[in-house]
């Protein structure tokens, strides 16, 4: 009889190389968003943006075991998902700077970044917009006989959209290979789940669709990874969808114009003390996946990658105003 492996799920399930890459992506998300914020302040980026700082575990642990053929749909708060799925931050910055070298050739910006090659079907400016699209993506996999799973990220606020209900119902009726990952950060813009949502946990709503629903600490990398792993396995086995709810928190305001009149300083600080990156890093060190120096090196690499990304983005050409109607229709 072998001794049970009591290490956290992620540690016992993934190779050290994968885990280090995951830590790297978490740092990269954090640094990328800080870099974006800084660029925004300097006037290099226009419009608005929604930062996911504080939610990095949810994005990276969800995507850790996915292949490029597995797909995600993302949200307005999608930078983390994008990087977690493997996007290049240079092309992301280029998009923010409105360059032809950006993922959307400067047409989309932060709210529409997609990276089809790594399976990211795109952020979405419409809350809940990605929910049925994810189900359609899962339908494609099933009809085309492919093993690919689709992960649908959405927020606690999105769960009150009719699209949520319609999408989960169809996914269940048709037993499609999709995992609904709710990033419950407690607020849809200024409105707390308590004031907007008639259940305590979004995962309770899974019962309405006869699918498993699980709520996990979304700042605990291993907890997220395990829940998503099980859901993905279920989906790949043809057993249908699952709803995973990651409890997490965004450190920053909803968007650049948030004056933060609806949250207390204490609440924010309490959550900052549960920084998912610090926790994951400590876990990796505790289990010998790396040491402090190696972790610092990873963190430093993330900074370098972020900085190189900004340089790449700055250097890229801007689209020509004459091309304003390009890409509306397929070119024939």
């Amino acid at each position: 009889m072998t001794k049970p492996d009591n290490r956290p799920f992620a540690i016992r399930s993934y190779a050290p190389e994968q885990l280090r890459e995951a830590l790297k992506r978490m740092y990269l998300i954090r640094r990328f968003e800080e870099g974006a914020e800084d660029s925004y302040m300097r006037g290099l980026i226009h419009g608005t943006m929604h930062l996911s700082i504080g939610q990095e575990a949810s994005a990276v642990a969800t995507c850790i075991a996915l292949t490029d053929a597995d797909r995600i749909t993302s949200t307005h708060r999608g930078h983390g998902h994008c990087i977690a799925k493997g996007a290049d931050v240079g092309r992301m910055f280029a998009e923010f700077f409105g360059k032809e070298t950006g993922y959307c050739h400067g047409r989309g910006g932060s709210m529409h970044i997609a990276d089809i090659k790594t399976g990211n079907l795109g952020a979405n400016g419409i809350v809940g917009g990605g929910l049925p699209i994810a189900v359609g993506s899962a339908l494609s996999a099933k009809r085309l006989g492919k093993p690919d799973v689709t992960i649908c990220f959405f927020g606690d606020g999105a769960n009150n959209e009719g699209a949520f209900h319609e999408a989960l119902n169809m996914a269940s009726v048709w037993k499609l290979p999709v995992v609904f990952v709710c990033e419950n950060n407690g607020y849809g813009m200024s409105t707390s789940t308590a004031r907007s949502t008639s259940v305590k946990h979004i995962a309770e709503r899974a019962a309405s669709y006869s699918m498993p629903g699980v709520t996990v600490d979304g700042n605990d990398f291993s907890a997220v990874a395990e829940a998503v792993h099980d859901a993905v396995a279920r989906a790949r086995a043809g057993d249908g969808p699952t709803l995973v709810e990651n409890l997490t928190y965004r450190w920053r305001g909803h968007s650049k114009s948030d004056r933060n009149r609806y949250r207390s300083r204490e609440e924010i600080e309490e959550w900052m003390a549960r920084d998912p990156i610090t926790r994951f890093r400590a876990e990796l060190i505790a289990h010998g996946v790396l040491d402090d120096a190696a972790a610092d090196a990873i963190a430093a690499a993330a900074v370098a990658e972020m900085e190189a990304g900004i340089e790449f983005a700055k250097a890229g050409p801007a689209p020509s105003p004459a091309d304003v109607t390009r890409y509306v229709y397929a070119e024939v």
């Binding site: 989309g108 917009g129 359609g136 009719g162 119902n169």
Partner: protein, 337 residues
Amino acid sequence: MNAMTQDQGLRTLSYAEAIREAMAIAMEADPTVILMGEDIGVYGGAFQVTLDLVDRFGPDRVMDTPISELGGAGVAVGAALTGLKPIFEFQFSDFAMLAMEQIVNQAAKLRYMLGGEASVPVVFRLPSGSGTGAAAQHSQSIEAWFGHVPGLKVLQPSTPEDAKGMLLAALADSDPVMIFEHKLLYKMKGHVPEGSYLTPIGKALVRRTGTDVTIVAGSIMLHRALEAAETLAGDGISAEVIDLRSIRPIDHETILASVRRTGRLMVVYEGVKAFGVGAEISAMVAESDAFDFLDAPILRLGAADAPVPYNPDLERASVPQVETILAAARRLSRREI
């Protein structure tokens, strides 16, 4: 209904059958084509357009959706983005209002927002129009809205032949296409060629040549216009009748060429007059060089400024009929600057 639709020894099908044939041909040829919609399986669709297709292709390819228009359309969009070619039927075009977000914010814009890195080859079929006594929420003609949406193509077949050819053309297109089918035309018979052929998207067609006045009309209004033109001929008024066919893009050239010749233009359509298809066509002509050829104001005949009423006489009065077209055409032909 008129000469054009009469059997001349050629194979005839109804408009509904022609659409069904197009779907069957496409499904035989391409395993990625699927049908989605409410009650399109064993029920055969509210207008029986998909009748028996589920027996031929199975429920995995002829999918009855729950009553979830937003979600259903969104599933079709997501499927189109990832390798399938869905034909999504809205049971009535009115219900597309529940799915505007997926049609307009997602399907129409995805290619652009993604800088050309993705495409959404979805086809939406929308039974449309009044005349069935189904009242305000089941009788609308909302196609003009989609003319206002870059990224979409918007078609309106008026014959069985075009109904088939346009659907096949829509499936061959890599962008989202909306096809407005008129409920009253489903039973109309006409010649339909065998096999696969594509009716070009964005091309209007002169269905009757004339010299005195140009009448642009699509869908069922084409048939009313042709009937009126026949009577007008007896009055000595020679009307050219153009089948609009495509609302987005609009075939400017065919219309302008005709107006340059006749100097008089009338647009007939079933949607509400204000902000309807006629507004765009009129404005397009009025800003073109053909303006200089106009000998009279441009007339629009559209629906009354009201929801579609239930009472059959009111319903009839609310949209252009042969006699309204006739009267307007006579007025227009007499008008001098």
